[in-house]
Subunit: 199 residues, 2 copies
């Protein structure tokens, strides 16, 4: 195992915690992460898993829980962030382009910051264009590519791969054959990765 | 705040982790827990929250996740344990009796051990009678009391109280007005409790 696969969808609220932690984590742990965007929404609909948005009591808890976790992790956040995302798929297809071209992590980190710190929904304007500008990418080129059949196919293929691995939520960390679901399993995933490497 | 309220339902799988950890925790942390049985099943049905049992992919993940956590916490477990429980309500009404009489924690710990370590469903025989014997209670007396209208009323009242607090899952730790849902939030709850006490 050369890295931990970090499966996520932009649009998942708890994934903000992982995105921000991973953006800072690598230098401390020596562990590298392979950022894998997919459509958790497609899989949740297939499985009849009901998103937080339709559960007001759980949603209220979720935002408070994320707020506390942001304090623990020392992350900025203006909560609740706009939710759910209207341009969920576009946000993630841009991440797919980024994973082909090597700037996935930078884009995802930038767009999540604007979403969670400045209340600008990911995938919509101005978040999308500004996030791409910020990381030195041409929004016109990237958005056209993100809307192309080849990237739609790649997005579906990534989602198929996630499904075949048994993934049903975002974030999910995959270490060999082990799945770790949820930001709160990140430490367990790292621990498993290191133990696996040593044995 | 004199203690952390530990809201749980016997029948929740992840609650095994908390039950076993709490049974050993008090002496280390100086924190005490007030064990509060309620019917998470009633609340989940009201909220249309779908239990793990109807989600095969999530259920498979859940057992593997619990297995790994048991290893991390050094807890015995023969998994998967029988699930869901057929006598969910009886198991919890006995816990209600225990909370009135001061042996709730001992009973819950005993019945969970038989459920998760010996594959004997909680609330059913032989688990129920043996758990009560083990903690020095007369099964005939306790089961009759657990089936009495007064304990049914107390069970419903506890569930009403949980609902009014915004509880929707088991285990939930309540520290003042803060809810912490899930065994993986136990450390956060303890930390909040200690900070609250100090401020």
């Amino acid at each position: 195992m050369k890295s931990i696969d970090f499966w996520f969808s932009i649009g998942s609220t708890y994934s903000y915690l992982s995105v921000m932690r991973l953006a800072n984590l690598k230098k401390d742990t020596g562990v590298s992460f392979n950022w894998r965007p997919f459509s958790v929404r497609a899989i949740m609909m297939e499985m009849d898993n009901i998103p937080f948005a339709e559960k007001p009591i759980k949603t209220r808890y979720m935002w408070r829980d994320i707020e506390r976790k942001c304090q623990i992790y020392d992350l900025d956040a203006t909560l609740p962030a706009p939710y759910p995302l209207e341009e969920f798929d576009l946000a993630n297809r841009v991440a797919i382009v980024g994973s082909k071209e090597g700037w996935c992590r930078d884009y995802v980190t930038s767009t999540y910051k604007k979403w969670f710190q400045q209340s600008q929904p990911a995938g919509s304007e101005p978040n999308l264009t500004e996030s791409l500008h910020e990381i030195g990418q041409d929004p016109g080129r990237v958005i056209e590519l993100a809307n192309s059949p080849v990237m739609e196919t790649a997005y579906l293929a990534a989602t198929d791969e996630a499904r075949s691995l048994g993934i049903f939520g975002s974030p999910t960390f995959v270490v060999g054959k082990e799945l770790f679901w949820g930001d709160d399993r990140l430490e367990d995933a790292i621990s498993w990765y290191k133990t696996g490497s040593q044995s």
